[in-house]
Point group: C2
Chain length 344, copies 2
């Protein structure tokens, strides 16, 4: 009944656009977010695995395999997203995707999200509801649900997500495990988000496909589970750039990874934008992050799962003492920046 | 071996106090935090339940009961803590406590923490390491470990935690479930943190016990599990104030809760500070949050677990239509503010 009371008391759409968090206060905000998370097409008060959902001190989940996968990802306004470049739904979906992709990159099924929000008091309730709708929708794409979180006042918008997943009895697919001879294969798109950012930075809004890819990445969650089922030796999601994330696998596995650029098909929108800006599209493909494609490593005689395309191989073990590069492109040192890091 | 490499490469204490995150960059910061989380007396690379720890896309935990409890809590500099009032270890411990107490309040055993940090580039590496040491130490008090998180650049310090726990096969103790005739009982201290804040706000640093309680609350984690074992009907941790948090249980359970002020012993430091500031110490006891005491509801014929003291009873069912108060003190409307809320 509390659900029904909440609907009657403060139904979605009851407040107009201008109502701020300072106007309604924390309790109404939390009630509205809870209501959003519990509603939506086809959903019941609790998801399949939820014993206790939003509204208690903690959520309780039942995970039959007994193997829980957990990851966290934080996004800050002005650094990870811009409220003038993206709709609130897109921002919410993007933060959710970054969190859920980490679960998929272990070969696990995402089940749950916790979202903590730091928000200025002048933020409108509508903006927060639209943000959370984006979170909820992206979670649904991954077959996961929002089960909890926190809201606090802050000077700048900060969104902190934590994703949980079910290992479903499969061994987790880690960064360590890639072996010489392995095929390196990608599911999802590469470089579109970086190209979309380049478009936005130059003040344009098209090609629309690139801008959309930047605003709202769509990680191939199912492909992560498929890779695990096909016995992937190692896997990572591309959040900071293909070369940088490949180097993380290479370091963890103690191998050298070679990307064969001839295997990378450059899609039409990428080619068009690169041509317009007089850039090599490989700059985005190799260095751009945030698409959350999955890169997995398979034995050479293993048929690749649907959605995966080979882009290279593990050429040999890495000899740590010699200063060898851990990632090469066409057998040579990469000619582009390797990816994004904070603070530097 | 990566652990050994990390120790050799960037051992704890190798950098001096003035080195900032801008100097060392994200990769060194993450490596240092990982190193801290893996080291410490008696710890191995992984905790008892960890299959995969820090350093992969996600952590993997084995929870034998298959029942996971999850909660989140975010803290922002200037609102939840002040870097001039608290040492970084205290701030870390306090954020960890707020997260872990929510797990204990469900009657579950805390197992794991994920900590995401938004940090200005001029933050020193030493400050972050001391913060994380506080997190790690408080997690150890609760028999939990730090298994993951994220670090990003931000204009103000923000600390976002997510705690996980093991339900251990017991039914979760929720906010709903309190029944007329139940005894309301508290484990832990009440009002000390609020009194300590009052002391600090007035520019003083003593009574030290109160200031310490504000800087570093010590939730009675074991008492939460004991309460569940003793069949508690409902439970909550006092994070926003006794009356406000009791009202949450009262609403969720549909009952009226009465606090008997004669049952509340006022400890000496509280009495002394209240006398000095010409205040009623009940103001802090009833309205002050952040001590993370646990309040549980037991059947009248149930012997209270060690650490719990009765402070009131559930007087009757709440009749939602009549505008009755859901919490009374000595049978009358409370005479103090009920607790802390954001945005208002």
């Amino acid at each position: 009944m509390p659900n029904d009371d909440a609907r009657r008391g403060i139904g979605i759409g009851e407040f107009d656009n201008g109502v701020t968090l300072a106007d309604v206060g924390e309790l109404v905000l939390v009630e509205r977010i809870s209501l959003l998370c519990r509603s939506g097409p086809g959903s019941s008060a609790l998801g399949a695995d939820e014993v206790v959902g939003i509204g208690d001190d903690a959520a309780v989940l039942s995970i039959s395999s007994g193997q829980i996968v957990a990851a966290a990802d934080m996004a800050v306004a002005g650094r990870h997203f811009r409220t003038d470049w993206s709709e609130p739904e897109d921002i919410g979906a993007k933060v959710a995707a970054a969190n859920l992709a980490d679960i998929a990159a272990m070969g696990a099924q995402p089940t749950s999200l916790l979202i903590s929000l730091g928000l200025p008091a002048e933020t409108t309730l509508m903006w927060v509801e639209r943000l959370m709708q984006g979170v909820i929708d992206e979670a649904a794409r991954a077959q996961a649900r929002v089960i909890g979180g926190d809201v606090v006042r802050a000077d700048a918008i900060v969104i902190s997500g934590m994703a949980l997943g079910d290992g479903q009895g499969r061994p987790p697919v880690r960064r360590a495990g890639a072996q010489p001879g392995d095929v390196v294969a990608v599911a999802g798109i590469l470089g579109w988000s970086a190209a979309g950012l380049a478009v936005l930075t130059r003040g344009f809004r098209s090609p629309r496909a690139l801008v959309d890819a930047h605003r709202r990445p769509q990680p191939p969650y199912r492909a992560g589970i498929d890779a695990a089922r096909h016995g992937a030796h190692a896997m990572i999601d591309i959040s900071d750039g293909l070369l940088l994330d490949l180097s993380r696998v290479a370091h963890a596995s103690g191998v050298i990874v070679n990307v064969d650029s001839a295997l990378i098909a450059i899609a039409e929108p990428l080619a068009a934008a690169a041509s317009a800006y007089n850039l090599d599209p490989l700059y985005w493909v190799l260095g751009g992050g945030e698409d959350h494609a999955l890169v997995a490593f398979f034995a050479a005689d293993q048929e690749l799962p649907v959605d995966f395309t080979a882009i290279g191989t593990v050429s040999q073990l890495h000899d740590a003492g010699t200063g060898q590069l851990s990632v090469t492109v066409d057998g040579r040192p990469p000619q582009v920046e390797s990816g994004f890091t904070h603070f530097s």
